[in-house]
Symmetry: C2
């Protein structure tokens, strides 16, 4: 059997690559792509078997673009995982801390290491398009006095060296990823299943209360609610909802039927095992 | 009386400047600042009397950074307005369409004019840090074959010329702005008042349903709910809620008391007249 083709956003060594390995195993054929939309397109056109997309970070919140793509492409969510974001100071092999003047990385990563820069005022942060990409650039172009901030995997992929580990300000920094497939397999069985749906309420008083009630009144636990603007209808919203349970459970099916009575739009985006 | 000092983000001629004029009048002392956080800091330190901050766009959704600052600084919301985002193709006085090769603007603005670029394949979009800033640059540096995309106000402020009006793909593109003050004045009286609050639910089943019920069961209309990650508690959330009504109305005060019984954190961020 040929290895599964898995698309992820960023360069080799990106945090998304770690998520891809957690979700799809070690023996996979990796397809790094520059933009999120390309992951959905590649999967929809059958160029890959799976796509791994970040959906939420515990410091920054939702990756809204990917919520929008979930609705537009309706490629089913079949798995979920969490990756702890650990930033490392990386140099070319043999590089010394005393020689570093500039530190390259994605602006979000630089912003998550402010205390490190405050303690080392000699180091100037320099923005780069990608964390792992900054390590790749270090190895290819060998700029003088330069280091990068990226994952340990990026150091390994490009043969670079880690000088300081875990220099991020907040260690409670996790990103949640979804594994998307082209077609939903039979729904998983057993406990700890989650379902993600999207709906638009009718514009009536108490609409959201009634919608959430379809779950609360059946003791179904909501894990997350996220609102996004409804295109073409200013100041109206779509809601993305994660709940504990499977669409195969009768009480969840009934809650979804009930929700259908209250909404103008309702889609099940996936039913999958809860990430750990 | 000296004119009110009003801070906004961006260069002179930014859409935020239009919001500032709608919210604080024509006779104001404008304080443009580069970053959102600086608006809150300038207001907190008394360097300005008001700050104008974008909170939500009908195409892109919430400006999350500003939601986070609302909680951190707790500077009261005292007004609200909506600005329609109209993009114009702008050149130096006397510039001709046939001579344009490159078009500078903020990446979000460029992305909102994709059909214009598809119809005019000769024009290459070039990213710039700010919409109005791209007009300023045009006038100061006079790069050959260059145009900018920005507001009509930006063309006026810098003495540039509009060649094509309203080139944005979607005319239903509005941004909602808040006017923030240092201290809440007496709450406004009359109809069409809104209140914005932030709360964190206790981590119990049905928590969000109960919280929203405090309003729904009193026939108080919710206009918006937005969730943000709770720092230091991965996968727990803060909720920002807008409802129709004033904290001076007994039923709203009772709803807030009721909500207080159900939450770990609850702040009223402002009570203000609804924007038009």
């Amino acid at each position: 059997m040929r290895p599964k083709r898995v698309a992820f956003q960023g360069e080799r060594g990106a945090f998304s690559e770690e998520a891809a390995r957690q979700l799809a195993g070690a023996r996979i054929d990796l397809h790094p792509l520059p933009r999120f939309e390309q992951l959905f397109q590649a999967l929809a056109r059958g160029r890959v078997d799976y796509a791994v997309v970040p959906i939420e970070n515990t410091l920054h919140g939702s990756v809204h673009e990917n919520y929008d793509h979930l609705l537009r492409f309706q490629l089913p969510i079949v798995g979920e995982t969490h990756v702890r974001i650990v930033h490392n100071l990386i140099v070319r092999p043999g590089g010394r801390f005393a020689d570093i003047r500039r530190v390259y990385s994605h602006p979000v990563a630089l912003n998550q290491c402010l205390r490190f820069f405050a303690r080392n005022r000699r180091l100037r942060p320099e923005t780069f398009y990608d964390t792992a990409g900054s390590v790749k650039m270090l190895m290819e172009e060998a700029p003088e006095g330069a280091a990068a901030i990226a994952s340990a995997a990026a150091a390994e992929v490009y043969g670079a060296q880690i000088l300081r580990r875990s220099i991020e300000d907040d260690h409670r920094n996790f990103t949640r990823f979804f594994l998307l497939a082209r077609k939903a397999p039979r729904h998983p069985k057993g406990g700890d299943l989650k379902t993600t749906i999207v709906f638009a309420t009718r514009n009536i008083p108490g609409a959201l209360f009634r919608c959430i009630g379809a779950f609360a009144l059946r003791d179904i636990n909501l894990l997350r609610i996220e609102s996004r603007p409804l295109r073409g209808k200013p100041w109206e919203y779509l809601f993305y909802l994660d709940f504990l349970g499977s669409v195969d459970e009768p009480r969840c099916r009934k809650a979804l039927d009930h929700l259908g009575e209250l909404t103008d739009l309702l889609h099940v985006l996936g039913c999958y095992r809860r990430g750990v």
